[in-house]
Amino acid sequence: MRAEASLVAEADGAGGTRLAVLRGESPLLLRRTGPRGPGVTVHLVGGAAGPLRGDDLRLTIAVGERATLSVRSVAAQLALPGRPGAPPSRLVVTATVAAGGALLWAPEPLIAAAGCDHVAVTDVTVADGGTLVWRDDLVCGRHAEEPGDVRSGVTIRYAGRTLYRHELAVGPAAPGWSGPAVLGTARAIGSLIVAGPSPGPGPSPSPGSGSGASSGPDPADPGSGPGSARLGLLGGDAVVMPLAGPGVLASAVGPDIRQVRAALDPLTVLPVPVPV
């Protein structure tokens, strides 16, 4: 199955955002949801059946100057085996954010079912002065199930420079993925990139910081950004790390998605604009 979906958000000229393009096809269907406000929320619907091996899915998102868009999904994506011999299923998400624009991407997790063979490619380009909050969660296998193969690749560019490049491979074709260097016994992983003029993670995280570990920011990092007070270890297996460029990565792993959500959900919000 091939499908393309496209989403373009623009400033409406009255301090709000309008959707200039909202186009999808099964299984990538898009619906505007949520209350009217300064920003627009769109949900991916119908994402539950698949992707299956052989599927080729593309989603393109463009956020214009001074527009604010949140993209979520109503259900987890479940990567499934599909036709034997077909190429890997593939979801390519490409997003651009203009100066003064803001994009929050926070879909439900991708679940790697047994026997799947899935490739997820994310390519995000943010102009200087744009804001990005990008969350991706992966669950390796349904309940008590060994996962198939998933390879994800993420490239995030900010102001013309590559801010973050990351690939993760899980499943039988990935040597050592369940070993103590990569995921160990964890079967869920979440990552959250926050990039922009004030790249601190979102407000009031109050994570479960009862791990007893000293949780100060890395003394090696001056941490001058607005969110720097919250950099460092979160509770459990979660940490917020300042990137070399204007952004932070919050990363969490856990036996299932609950620990990941507890650590990352409070941070997965668009920063409140700073009055100029």
């Binding site: 690749g153 993420v154 490239t155 420079r161 590559t162 801010l163 973050y164 490049r165 990351h166 690939e167 993760l168 491979a169 990935a174 040597p175 050592g176 993925w177 369940s178 070993g179 103590p180 260097a181 990569v182 995921l183 160990g184 964890a186 992983i189 990552s191 570990a213 000293s214 949780s215 100060g216 890395d218 003394p219 090696a220 990092d221 460092g232 270890l233 297996d237 979660a238 940490v239 790390m241 300042p242 990137l243 070399a244 460029g245 990565l249 990363s251 792993v253």
Partner: protein, 214 residues
């Protein structure tokens, strides 16, 4: 290519500070993730196919194109979200250059590049090719934590070296892959990551008492 020169570059006794780093092993041991040789094998396989693959790719590219060291260095920053790991990589790069300058004349390169970039430029200055640089990089990502495991856990050194020998063909394979892609733009080079290495490095950096710098 001089095989003896490659041995000089990859020798664990090279005074480049490598013995001070455990490649994330100390944090993994403390977290209870590595206790014996079987765990160590899982750790090393995962590290080799993530950090090792990246180090091999960047050492090969820097060896093939020493003048592009700065762009490769930026690309490694983008692949290293953990500040503790960026710091450790740059400290090892600087130490390697200090040792390297005493051995071969080096082209211009920053004071504190990431270790794989320093290794590639040094390999080039020593007259080695990209594949040799990549082998040294991949092998180093295995031997560092392996020797740390012997010291931290008192593992049988024979069993640990048997493990290193079993991983040698995989080091060769990764190096060949890396050497075939040295002309790719930096964004296209591998970015294989290991979440627990990042987490462990950040946690480790907060310890007041530790045996290894990373």
């Amino acid at each position: 290519m001089s095989l003896a020169t490659l041995l000089v570059l990859a020798d664990g006794r090279l005074p480049a500070g490598g013995h001070a780093h455990s490649g994330g092993l100390e944090a993994a041991v403390s977290a209870g993730r590595v206790a014996g040789v079987a765990d160590l094998e899982g750790f090393l396989r995962g590290r080799l196919s993530t950090s090792g693959l990246v180090a091999a790719a960047f050492a090969a590219a820097a060896c093939a194109h020493p003048s592009r060291w700065s762009g490769l260095d930026d690309a490694l920053d983008a692949r290293t979200p953990s500040p503790a790991l960026r710091k450790a990589s740059r400290a090892q790069g600087r130490a390697l250059l200090r040792a390297g300058r005493a051995m071969w004349p080096l082209p211009p390169i920053g004071r504190e590049p990431h270790h794989p970039v320093a290794l590639g430029v040094l390999a080039s200055a020593a007259g080695l090719g990209p594949e040799a640089a990549a082998v040294a990089a991949a092998h180093g990502t295995v031997t560092g934590p392996a020797s740390a495991a012997v010291r931290l856990l008192g593992l049988d050194p024979y069993a640990v070296h048997a493990l290193i020998a079993r991983l040698a063909p995989e080091c060769d394979r990764l190096a060949a892959v890396a050497a075939a892609r040295t002309d790719d733009p930096p964004d296209d080079l591998t970015a294989a990551g290991a979440p627990l290495l990042d987490l462990g490095a950040e946690r480790h950096a907060t310890w007041e008492v530790r045996l290894f710098a990373s």
